[in-house]
């Protein structure tokens, strides 16, 4: 029997539920952060490239970049809300 299974065997129902919720919460946020992380990295990278090529359009690119970041990170933030709900609600 692994250590984790030994620990789980000693827990009662409510504690098992709390442990599963904590585990699920951690996975929820971690998985939700992968996609937006890649997305924001790509987005900002492309924006920097655009600004380096055409410095005179930097203002407009920057505004559009913030807008894109806001749309992309919404997914990570919903993951964070799920984390809070699983852990505390």
């Amino acid at each position: 029997m692994s250590i984790a299974a030994q620990v789980l065997a000693q827990l009662d129902g409510a504690e098992t539920k709390a442990a599963a919720a904590a585990e699920g919460a951690g996975f929820a946020y971690g998985l939700a952060a992968i996609g937006p992380g890649i997305g924001i990295g790509y987005l900002v990278g492309q924006a920097v490239q655009a600004m380096a090529r055409q410095p005179e359009s930097a203002g407009q690119v920057q505004t559009t970049m913030f807008l894109g970041v806001a749309f992309t990170e919404a997914l990570a933030l919903i993951g964070f809300v799920v984390f809070i709900l699983l852990k505390f609600a």
Partner: protein, 261 residues
């Protein structure tokens, strides 16, 4: 204060306060439920109103003092938000977007102001009301400018092959009319709550390290240094989130004015 007690009650061990302790505040005026969040909301209406009132009292040709702040803010909203997201015909929405920007910004910046140390927008009530107002507003503007054709333009966008409407229409319905106020509000709420928890985490770590044996005091470089750095970062986030919330409201209005693109 409760945080200090929470950190010290375990004899120096790391005890993280519960979420209710972080975001729920006792009533200041008891029977009507007027707590710190409500106080911040009132202040974030009164303080910008006062700034703009004082600015409007200046009669000199050259702006100085508080008027430079007021004019700079208006110019920022005009140039960076309305012109970028709507265009010149959006100038008539300047008052509402300026109010959004200032209300959200003051609700956010209390996160790093001593005595408050709590962003009012870390409770979902504030953002959800603002998002629902924006939701009602952009649908209203769409109907006012295009009549019932607005819904047709949004739900059945022109240039799409008719067979694809089976796929496109439910997606557009969900994303434009149902999920939009939710994501608009959650974006602001979750950002501010995450920032608040981040600052609390570093605050608790700093206190814990300060209570440790003398040989470990060098850890404060990371914990207290992190607290200072993240406080600066959260000031930046407060501004960015106010900007993003306002520009999204503007983008939605722009979409209602010109639904074709």
């Amino acid at each position: 204060m409760s945080l200090l007690l929470a950190a010290e009650s375990e004899g120096g061990g790391l005890e993280f306060p519960s979420l209710t302790q972080l975001v729920e505040w006792p009533d200041i005026i008891d029977p009507i439920g007027f707590n710190k969040i409500a106080l911040i909301h009132v202040l974030s209406v009164v303080v910008p109103a006062l700034i703009f009132f004082l600015a409007s009292r200046q009669k000199s040709l050259v702006p100085s003092g508080v008027r430079t702040i007021a004019e700079g803010t208006i110019e920022f909203v005009e140039k960076q938000i309305i012109m970028q997201a709507i265009g010149p015909d959006g100038m008539k929405y300047l008052p509402v977007l300026l109010s959004y920007f200032l209300f959200v910004f003051f609700g956010n910046i209390t996160e790093v102001i001593p005595f408050f140390q709590m962003p009012a927008n870390a409770r979902i009530a504030g953002p959800i009301v603002l998002a629902l107002i924006s939701w009602a507003m952009y649908i209203g503007i769409g109907v006012k400018n295009h009549g019932m054709g607005y819904f047709k333009e949004v739900l059945f966008p022109p240039g799409v092959p008719p067979a694809l409407y089976i796929l496109v229409t439910p997606i557009e319905l969900l994303s434009n009319f149902i999920l939009r106020p939710f994501s608009h509000a959650v974006r602001l709420f979750a950002n501010m709550l995450a920032g608040h928890i981040l600052l609390v985490t570093f605050g608790v770590l700093s206190i814990t390290v300060a209570g440790m044996a003398i040989g470990w005091i060098w850890l404060e470089v990371f914990t207290f240094g992190g607290l200072v750095a993240f406080t600066a970062f959260e000031m930046f986030v407060s501004l960015i989130q106010a900007f993003v919330f306002t520009i999204l409201a503007a983008v939605y209005i722009g979409g209602s004015l010109h639904p074709a693109h």
